[in-house]
Symmetry: C2
Amino acid sequence: MTASPIQDLSRLCVHTITTRPWPIEEITDRFAAAGVAGITVWRQALEGRNVARVGQNLRDAGLSIVSLCRGGFFPATDAQQRQRAVDDNFRAIDEAAELGAPLVVLVCGADPGQPLEQSRQQIVDGILAVHDRAVQANVRLGIEPLHPMYADTRSAINTMRQANDACDQINSPHVGVVVDVYHLWWDPDLKREIERCGRAGRLFAFHVCDWRSPTEDMLNDRGLMGEGCINVCEIRGWVEQAGFGHGFIEVEIFSDRYWKMDQGEFLAKIKEAYLSHT
Amino acid sequence: MTASPIQDLSRLCVHTITTRPWPIEEITDRFAAAGVAGITVWRQALEGRNVARVGQNLRDAGLSIVSLCRGGFFPATDAQQRQRAVDDNFRAIDEAAELGAPLVVLVCGADPGQPLEQSRQQIVDGILAVHDRAVQANVRLGIEPLHPMYADTRSAINTMRQANDACDQINSPHVGVVVDVYHLWWDPDLKREIERCGRAGRLFAFHVCDWRSPTEDMLNDRGLMGEGCINVCEIRGWVEQAGFGHGFIEVEIFSDRYWKMDQGEFLAKIKEAYLSHT
């Protein structure tokens, strides 16, 4: 089973990092002109800006603000470092509220100097430590499980099952999961755990791109949908079956290759890949 | 719980690819002189040699031949290609028998042009197709689950659970699992699935190295034990509890960094890391 074809751009969201060479002001104009419906803003794009004003400009341009990337990075062997992470997540929540983003995406973190179990516990502790601030700000927190190749430093939560388990432990309507096909496509439990996530009302966001063969860089060699081996359309079907039928489909691509291109041409390619291979 | 300290080199096996710059003849002398007890031979090391004679030389030098690397790579969209893979696995089994290796390690393969489920089925079909030859040759076949970052082209079997499930399906005393810490350390089910594997009598081999942070190359940047974040000693404890208390501990490192070193110095480092961090 695959999902029914995408007919228009009404659910297309693009991450600011996807077209990183453009500053946020140019992104605002370009995305709006291209008919992109939603935007996920990376915090780097906000540096030196008045966050509330950026948010207003995005809305004025007709863009829906889908989420802020990224909070997280909670684990550390050093307690002071963990406190700094909590403080930084407070700031991320405040920025999301100022911007008008309903969700902060969490790249949860890991510390190679301690066991994964300990990092996982510190992730749950960290989310609990910032939870009330998120509730007050009316901002949700989305745990994004990351590919196991990032388990050493980026996230000790590497499967949907682990993300669902963490959400069970935290048990708050403000804490859910961000599904990214790049991180999860290989997992034989993916369909079942997406269903579980949907039943719990915790499927907060859906990110797409593709896995190139060969992948030449562990971080910055993601492909456009259709360029690799991920069953993007099938996974979209699972996500939609799980209750996300009207949610944004977010194109998040880190690619040295594409960042070198003319970003206007790249944006045209994104739209094409979105309509034909997602 | 971690395993009890390693006291001597009696269970140390080193893969020929670990010291790849040396030809098999030099490896034979060097490993024996260094007190290495076992050797796993990669097929590349046998090119242009009389395989039976290499085996005899290894035994004469006092080395135990632990396994032959590698068979597998069964999946392909093209049926002729799948048949060629079966034929190549026949040859690998024959070579193992000639060499005197009791085990062929299977890197099972994957084809990015088809769904993972299909690749997984073709892996089981491929193993079944070569199974009788392995029984006749008295050679066992070890499924090595590979890290999910290799799911596109190297193996559609990426966890111990999947390897155990495949073994259940095949259900032969000649087919088991090769546990490699590099591929599996991140998996929250690892301990339980190692126990399951041991209970079924299917834990055939144990490979060690470490995961460096940052890892700079997806293939050839493995670390020596102790150099990275893998809980090698703890995993060894699980493997030994699962009935592998007398099995070889195989050092399998692909590293551009170490291949550039003087291989004699590297071998000394391997022994040190084996005794102190395994």
